[in-house]
Symmetry: C2
Subunit: 122 residues, 2 copies
Amino acid sequence: MKPKSARVNIENTKAQMRKGILEFCILSLLADTHAYASDIIEQLKSAELIVVEGTLYPLLTRLKNAGMLHYHWEESSSGPPRKYYTLTQMGKASLLELQETWGALSQAVNQITQRIKNQHNE
Amino acid sequence: MKPKSARVNIENTKAQMRKGILEFCILSLLADTHAYASDIIEQLKSAELIVVEGTLYPLLTRLKNAGMLHYHWEESSSGPPRKYYTLTQMGKASLLELQETWGALSQAVNQITQRIKNQHNE
DNA sequence: CATTCTACCTTGTTTCGCCAGATACTTTTT
DNA sequence: AAAAAGTATCTGGCGAAACAAGGTAGAATG
């Protein structure tokens, strides 16, 4: 007898909006550098895009299994060794496609949103 | 014994990217007009944002149950009656929040993407 | 040696978009 | 009038992603 409906709040929508976008962001971050998980979280956070570990680790593994990324271990001077990820050739190709996909999507959204203002001026 | 991994293709990513964004688009379309399902699909399609009925109807119902939309039946001169949706007061408030959310998200993605170019120039 | 910190990983839940149907009513055709 | 086609609505099941809330293992610190 739980309230199954009305599950539309802003926080949830924010989480939904980033689905599939994180993948694009991570490939972008790794485009010409290598980084490990905490690096990536830090960089995303500095762009106001908060991500938690439980999200990032499965995503990195997924991208690695898909052949987009590969990693190598690197010793740290202050702690356990780290998995540093870089793009594969396939990863670079996918990044190009995702850039087009994101461009088309954001253009579509902006077109729909701006239609409101146009209608206001009629 | 199926290949459970490597399930990262562009088509799937496109579907993921639009999660939560469709909600924003539909509220935007209804900001100052009323429309029924086929209207909405048509307008989204003209912005290159293809949506199928199986996606839209549950979404409209969800938004209605959340108090964002309400509808009224209207007779059609050529076919069955139609459910015309409009924004409620809560829907208008949510639209404002989603506009900020979308703005922040797209700005974050652009910042991350453009960081690549900046690093190239260092 | 015990504690804290760092870095990695996993399980279960929720939500969404999509596919593939079904239902119901209206209009048109035969 | 009966059958066919068209319009508009809705539903069940599936796959994928983000998150919460854990856990493991080793290094640094006291």
